[in-house]
């Protein structure tokens, strides 16, 4: 039929004149999620190229060390040329991976990753063949052990699961060949075992530690990015529409235009089918809410709803939109305090992080008239910050500096929650 039939909306809420705030809020939040998802891939690579370069240097040092050992043991090897071949394959794979990573940017294509792993496997096999007769793989293998470290080269270019899997597979392969190659009685010889354990640890642990460092670094970048993006709300006007509102409004306007155009052009028959009618009802509801409700929200609401971290753990109760009255310094203080209090909450990137979930609730207002100590043309806005899951003595000292910028405060601990009452002096809006 017409183009309008392709406009997809969720189940319409009736009541085209009513207040269906939950609906619009859902719509905004789903857009917010889409927005942040789209940029996550890009965010993750920020700054890890530099770490990757560091990993390349470490791998280079390890390779030189391995090569020296290899050269020193040339006479000992039963099959020196197999070991030499292993080193040539390993060097080719490493150089190829390093060059490609510099050229292709922040991600190695799948086929190249496969090639890299295949190369490591070949080098590993050749090196094991070379030292098999010596019955002490841990003591004499060189390229096979360097292969584990070589995974570090890709630590910034591939996902953590892939690197970890490869490291574990390599570790298991090492254990298997060491076990198969063990001389009689070796399993009772602590010295022989210690050498093998050392070899396995030296091959497997570096990529694992590398993954931990890179993941933590990505997490740090994400938190900082989240914070910096939200920080821009500090200079927002008293009431703002938020980043996504205009995008959303433009989308709704366009959908309405298409629907109305289809009706005008007789592409859509009148009276409308129930389905199209519900599309219209839905559009009207969302449009109305975006036009009316949008400007009621303060910078703080937008900051919390736009932030991945704050959105998860902060609840805001600000019935009279008093947050809008805070000046930029006070806003910065409040936002910093919130950040410092929730910064340890498990993130989406790393949901398994231990520790009790921290939640924060910020209650602003109501204004109690007749507070004596307030200068002329000012009013005192009471702000209560209640935090759970964080003991008083673990509160970062920066929190108190930040809260001090908002106004005079007093804190108390009840049960397991910390409560800070702040008296925030702001310009009286009635005098403006």
């Amino acid at each position: 039929m017409s183009k309008t039939d392709t406009i997809q909306f969720s189940q319409p809420d009736e009541n085209t004149l009513g207040v269906v705030v939950g609906n619009a809020r859902r719509a905004v939040q789903s857009t917010a999620r889409r927005f942040s998802r789209a940029s996550t891939a890009h965010r993750a690579s920020l700054g890890t190229a530099f770490l990757g370069l560091g990993a390349v240097i470490v791998v280079g040092l390890r390779a030189v060390y391995g090569l020296i050992w290899f050269a020193a043991q040339w006479e000992v090897y039963p099959e020196p040329f197999a070991a030499l071949a292993a080193w040539i394959v390993l060097a080719a794979v490493l150089i190829g991976a390093i060059v490609m990573s510099r050229v292709s940017g922040d991600r190695l294509p799948d086929w190249m990753f496969g090639l890299f792993l295949a190369g490591l496997a070949i080098a590993f096999a050749l090196d094991v063949i070379a030292v098999w007769e010596l019955r002490n793989i841990g003591g004499f293998a060189t390229a096979a052990l360097t292969a584990g470290m070589a995974l570090l080269v890709l630590v910034a270019l591939r996902g953590r699961a892939e690197i970890l899997t490869a490291a574990v597979v390599l570790g298991v392969a090492l254990i298997v060949v060491i076990f198969l190659d063990a001389p009689v009685g070796a399993l009772a010889d602590p010295d022989w075992i210690a050498i093998q354990v050392t070899a396995i640890a030296g091959a497997v642990l570096p990529p694992i530690i590398g993954v931990v460092i890179v993941e933590s670094f990505r997490r740090m970048v994400q938190v900082e990015l989240d914070r910096v993006l939200v920080q821009s709300t500090v200079s927002a006007p008293r009431f703002a529409v938020g980043m996504l509102a205009s995008e959303e409004l433009a989308r709704l306007d366009l959908a309405a235009e298409e629907l109305l155009d289809a009706v005008a052009q007789q592409k859509t028959k009148l009276p409308l089918t129930p389905k199209n009618a519900s599309v219209a009802a839905q559009l009207a509801t969302e449009l109305r809410l975006h036009l009316i409700e949008g400007r009621r929200e303060t910078w703080l609401y937008h900051a919390i709803s736009e932030s991945e971290q704050l959105g998860k753990s902060v609840t805001l109760s600000d019935k009279s939109s008093l947050a809008g009255l805070l000046d930029p310094t006070q806003r910065d203080g409040l936002l910093s305090a919130a950040w410092l209090l929730v910064a340890d909450v498990p993130s989406a990137a790393n949901p398994r992080r231990r520790g009790t979930a921290r939640t924060l609730s910020i209650q602003i207002g109501p204004v109690v008239p007749g507070s004596p100590a307030v200068p002329a043309h000012k009013i005192a806005v009471p702000i209560t910050v209640t935090s759970t899951g964080i003991p008083r003595n673990r509160v970062d000292s920066g929190v108190w500096d930040a809260i001090g910028r908002i106004g005079r405060y007093s804190d108390s601990t009840q049960d397991a929650s910390l409560r800070v009452d702040i008296e925030c002096i702001v310009d009286n809006p009635a005098d403006q």
Binding site: V19, I209, L272, A280, A281, L283
Partner: protein, 391 residues
């Protein structure tokens, strides 16, 4: 301290913990192999390993400098126990020492670079590590030299990793800050764009009215009238989208288009467009009283929106096809009475919010300093009194 430094410290602490714990575990494994060290050494060593592990866990959680100190003392204790109590270490024992001194303890370098006392502790730790390992292996000078060298390389490597990460953080912070600046500009632009769209209130008012009609499948309105209305609304939305100032036009029969811009603060002409619109939907609106009233545009917007909401309620609920609007004004206020002779209702029976009255009428008027009151009784029609200040 700024947040990114805190995050960096946390990153280094966590890395040190994983690094240190994994190699301490490897060392403990070598240490505990049967025959690797004499029994008394094993007995003394195990508690020290536990203390070291606990201290490393704590390093991951706390920024205190004392946990690295505890870890260093416990780890050095292990080396010394082997060196003093054991004779020449077996190769397994020797490997255990290297793992703990060159990696388990060296991992602490990650958290020991941010201040002078910490750097001093780092240097002390590295030297003590080298010294004690050499002391433990002093009976075999070649092995002692090799082990000492490995410990030194281990500390050097850990320090290098730390320096590298520390160098990476300001770079990324700078890039993030520039993204933040771009984002602030984007936020302002977005705010302006939203203001422009929200500012086109009159336009959205007619669009909403049309959508509301369509939501009821257009029942009760002549299809041609609805099509005409929809076409005009679509045209206005297109103008808004393309960036030209939306104009509320009243196409006349001859095709000439007398335009009224949305910003023009003259009540009479805009009232006429409201009347036309409701006319097309089957509600005859008669105007009485003042025709020309000048109002600030946001007040005019609120006033007209409230008026249109009232008329929409009449059209949908009253059961009559005629409504009267009386506009009066004095020095301070402009008032409108919207009356119909319809079915009326008992105010107590109707939830005001359900009519959208509180939200869309009273709310909007209060925003600009006005107010609205509702009078009705079953069978005697409905009257709404709206008022807004003149300036």
């Amino acid at each position: 301290m700024d947040l990114i430094s805190k995050e960096r410290d946390r990153l280094l602490q966590r890395s040190a913990r994983v690094y240190g714990l994994s190699f301490t575990a490897v060392s403990a494994l070598c240490f505990a192999l049967p025959g690797a060290v004499p029994f008394p050494v094993l007995l003394l060593g195990i508690p020290l390993y536990l203390i070291l592990a606990a201290a490393l866990v704590a390093v991951g959680l706390s920024r205190s400098i004392w946990w690295p100190v505890v870890a260093l003392v416990a780890g050095t204790g292990i080396v010394l126990v082997v060196g003093i109590l054991g004779a020449t270490p077996t190769p397994a024992g020797s490997l255990a020492l290297i793992h703990v001194a060159a990696a388990g303890l060296a991992s602490l370098a990650l958290v020991l670079t941010t201040s002078a006392p910490r750097i001093a502790l780092l240097v002390t730790g590295a030297l003590v590590g080298v010294g004690t390992v050499v002391f433990a292996e002093i009976d075999t000078p070649a092995q002692a030299l090799r082990s000492g060298g490995t410990v030194l390389v281990g500390w050097g490597l850990a320090a290098l990793i730390t320096v590298w990460i520390n160098a990476g953080v300001p770079q990324v912070a700078k890039r993030i800050a520039s993204i933040g600046r771009a984002h602030r500009a984007e936020r302002q632009a977005s705010e302006l764009e939203a203001q422009r769209r929200q500012g086109a209130r009159l336009l959205h008012d007619t669009v909403l009215a049309s959508l509301t009609l369509l939501a009821h499948s257009g029942v009760g309105v002549k299809p041609e009238a609805l099509r005409q209305q929809a076409g005009e609304d679509a045209r206005l939305l297109r103008q808004l989208r393309l960036g030209t100032a939306p104009q509320l036009a009243e196409p006349t029969q001859t095709g000439t288009v007398p335009v009224v811009t949305a910003e023009e603060p003259v009540l009479g002409t805009t009232l006429e467009s409201v009347k036309q619109r409701f006319g097309r939907m089957g509600l005859q609106v008669s105007w009485h009283g003042t025709g020309q009233v000048l109002l600030p545009s946001e007040v005019l917007d609120a006033f007209l929106l409230a008026l249109a909401e009232c008329l929409e309620n009449v059209r949908r609920h009253s059961g009559v096809t005629e409504a009267h609007v009386t506009i009066t004004d004095d020095a301070t206020m402009v008032r409108a009475l919207v009356t119909d002779a319809g079915v009326g209702f008992d105010i107590a029976d109707i939830d005001e919010a359900k009519l959208g009255f509180a939200e869309s009428v009273v709310g909007r008027l209060r925003e600009v300093g006005g107010n609205a009151r509702l009078f009705s009784a079953p069978g005697s029609g409905t009257t709404v009194a709206l008022e807004v200040p003149r300036g």
